[in-house]
C-alpha cells in the first residue's frame, strides 16, 4: 500500500485539536448560555447556529478575509501572537472551531437546561461555590450530552471540506486533510487512492457514531 497517510493523520490531528479547544471554550459558553438572561441571547443563539445553515464557502470566504495579514484581525494575530492564519494549520483550527461550534454547544446547552434548577440551588444551600457545583454536580449529570457534543464536533471536523478548501488550500502536511486529498486524487483520476481515503473516513465516522449510540443506549438502560 503506497498511499500517503499524511492527509489522514492531519485530519485526525485537526479534529482532535479542534475538539479540545471546543471543549475549553464551548462547555463554559454553553453553561453561560443555558442560564443567562441577557437580552441579546436570541442573537447569540442565531450566530452560534449560523454555521449549520450557511454554505461553508460563505464562512470560508469571510474567514479568509479576516485571516489575511492586510486585515486588522490577521495583522494583530500575526504581529502579537506570531501566528500566520491564512493557508496554515493554525488557521484551519480556528476555522474548524467556528464551524463546529454549534455541534458542541447545542447538545451541551440543552443538557444543562434539562437539569432541574433545584440541583444547582441545593448545592448552593449546602454551601458549594458555583465552580464546585459545576464540576461535581452539573457536568457529571450531563454526560450523555457531553459525549454527544464531543463526538459530533470531532466527526464534523473530520467531514469538513468547504471551509478548508477556502482558507487552507492544498498544502501537503499543513492543510491537505483527507477530504481535500480525495478531491485531489479524483481530479487526477487516481480512483484507487481516493477510494482508500474515502473508505477510511467512512469507517471511522461509522464506528464513532455507532459507539455513541450504543453508549447512550446503555446509559439510558441504566437509568431505566
Amino acid at each position: 500500500m503506497g498511499y500517503d497517510l499524511q492527509p489522514l493523520f492531519l485530519t485526525f490531528k485537526l479534529a482532535a485539536v479542534t475538539t479540545l479547544i471546543l471543549c475549553l471554550i464551548g462547555i463554559p459558553f454553553a453553561y453561560w448560555m443555558a442560564y443567562t438572561k441577557v437580552r441579546i441571547k436570541p442573537v447569540l443563539e442565531t450566530l452560534v447556529s449560523m454555521p449549520l445553515v450557511l454554505p461553508p464557502s460563505v464562512l470560508g470566504f469571510y474567514l479568509l478575509l479576516a485571516f489575511s495579514p492586510q486585515s486588522a484581525f490577521g495583522h494583530f494575530v500575526e504581529t502579537y501572537i506570531g501566528l500566520k492564519l491564512a493557508f496554515s494549520f493554525a488557521g484551519l483550527v480556528v476555522a474548524s472551531v467556528v464551524f463546529s461550534f454549534p455541534f458542541l454547544v447545542h447538545p451541551v446547552q440543552s443538557g444543562f437546561q434539562a437539569l432541574p434548577r433545584s440541583l444547582t440551588e441545593a448545592a448552593c444551600t449546602l454551601g458549594k461555590s458555583r465552580w464546585q457545583t459545576f464540576v461535581h454536580v452539573l457536568l457529571p449529570n450531563i454526560k450523555p450530552s457531553l459525549l454527544a457534543g464531543v463526538v459530533l464536533s470531532f466527526a464534523h471536523t473530520i467531514g469538513e471540506f468547504g471551509v478548508v478548501m477556502m482558507i487552507g488550500g492544498n498544502l501537503p502536511g499543513e492543510t491537505k486533510v483527507a477530504a481535500i486529498a480525495i478531491y485531489d486524487e479524483v481530479e487526477s483520476l487516481n480512483y484507487a487512492a481516493a477510494n482508500f481515503y474515502a473508505l477510511v473516513l467512512f469507517s471511522v465516522c461509522f464506528i464513532i457514531l455507532l459507539t455513541v449510540y450504543l453508549l447512550n443506549r446503555k446509559m439510558l438502560m441504566k437509568v431505566a
Partner: protein, 298 residues
C-alpha cells in the same frame, strides 16, 4: 431569633399581588406556613434561603443582616447555612447516597458525621445506591439527612411530605420531628395538610395573597373558623377532614368525610350542610352526643 420584614411583587394565576410579611421567629421554633398554592409560602422560604431576593425590607438572623434593601446587603445562599428540602428532593443523581451526604459536608467538618447521620436516619442499607433507585419516602429521608449533613442553623421544608403515601408520611413526620428536636433547629415548613400542621408545628401562619391572614397555635388557628359560625362550640375532640360526599337523608344530611386515611360518615343538620360542598376542609368535633361540622378557611 429571626426578624423578617420583606415585600416582593409576585405574579400568580389570580394576577399580581404583593408578598408583604413581617414576623419574628424564636430560636428552635417550628412554624408551619399554611395556605393555598401561589399565596407566597414557597417564596418566603426561598427568600430566607437566599434563592430569591425580596424587592424591599430586611431579614436579620441572630443580629446578622442577611438582606437589607436599603443598605444593599444580600448575603449569598452559600453563607446562610439554611438547610432546604426541595419538593423534588434535588438529590444529585450522579452520586451514591453516601456521596450525596459527603458532598454536603462543610470544609473541615468531621467525616464521621456522615456515618452518624446514615445511622440516625436508618439509611445503612441504601448508602451505596444511587438516588434514582430509591422510593419517594427513601429519597425524602436522604434529602433530610443531606440537609442536616451541612450543619444548618435552620431548616426550610417545602411541602416535604406531599408526594408520599399516608403511612410513609406519618413515619417521616415523626422522623422530622425527632431530628428537629435533636438538633434544636428553627424550622419553617410549607404544608397543605392540616393534620401535619397540627402534629408538627408550634405556630401556624395562614398566608393568603401574600399576607399573614391568621396566626397562632394550630388549635387557635383552625378553631378560629368556629367563631364566624356564630355557634359557641366546645368540642371535646376534633379532627381535620375533607368532605367527600353529601347526601340527603330525610330531614338531615349524611356527610362522608376523609379524616386522616379513614372515611367516616356523619350526620349533619341542614344548617351545617348548606355551607358545605365536596372538597371542603372541615373540622369534625365530637361533643357528648352529636358531631359538629365546621368549615375551615383554607
Amino acid at each position: 431569633m429571626i426578624e423578617i420584614d420583606i415585600s416582593k411583587k409576585l405574579f400568580s394565576a389570580q394576577g399580581e399581588f404583593t408578598l408583604d410579611l413581617e414576623l419574628n421567629i424564636a430560636q428552635g421554633e417550628f412554624i408551619s406556613l399554611f395556605g393555598q398554592s401561589g399565596a407566597g409560602k414557597t417564596t418566603l422560604l426561598r427568600c430566607l434561603a437566599g434563592l430569591e431576593q425580596p424587592d424591599s425590607g430586611f431579614i436579620k438572623v441572630r443580629g446578622v443582616t442577611w438582606f437589607d434593601s436599603k443598605a444593599g446587603i444580600m448575603l449569598k445562599t452559600q453563607y446562610r447555612h439554611a438547610g432546604y428540602m426541595f419538593q423534588d428532593y434535588a438529590l444529585f443523581p450522579n452520586m451514591s447516597i453516601r456521596a450525596n451526604l459527603e458532598f454536603a459536608l462543610r470544609p473541615g467538618a468531621r467525616r464521621e458525621r456522615v456515618s452518624e447521620l446514615i445511622e440516625l436516619m436508618g439509611l445503612g442499607d441504601l448508602q451505596q445506591r444511587k438516588p434514582d433507585t430509591l422510593s419517594g419516602g427513601q429519597k425524602q429521608r436522604v434529602a433530610l439527612a443531606r440537609a442536616l449533613a451541612a450543619e444548618p442553623d435552620m431548616l426550610l421544608l417545602d411541602e416535604p411530605f406531599s408526594a408520599l403515601d399516608h403511612a410513609t408520611r406519618v413515619r417521616l413526620q415523626d422522623e422530622v420531628m425527632r431530628m428537629q428536636r435533636h438538633f434544636g433547629l428553627t424550622t419553617l415548613m410549607v404544608s397543605h395538610d392540616i393534620s401535619e400542621v397540627y402534629k408538627l408545628s408550634q405556630r401556624v401562619l395562614v398566608i393568603e395573597q401574600g399576607r399573614i391572614a391568621k396566626q397562632g397555635t394550630p388549635a387557635e388557628v383552625f378553631k378560629a373558623g368556629q367563631s364566624s359560625s356564630k355557634k359557641s362550640t366546645s368540642g371535646k375532640f376534633s379532627f381535620a377532614g375533607e368532605v367527600l360526599d353529601i347526601e340527603t337523608a330525610d330531614v338531615v344530611f349524611a356527610v362522608t368525610l376523609l379524616v386522616g386515611n379513614q372515611i367516616v360518615r356523619v350526620i349533619a343538620t341542614p344548617d351545617e350542610a348548606k355551607n358545605l360542598q365536596q372538597g371542603d376542609r372541615v373540622m369534625l368535633m365530637s361533643k357528648a352526643f352529636n358531631p359538629v361540622l365546621v368549615a375551615v378557611a383554607t
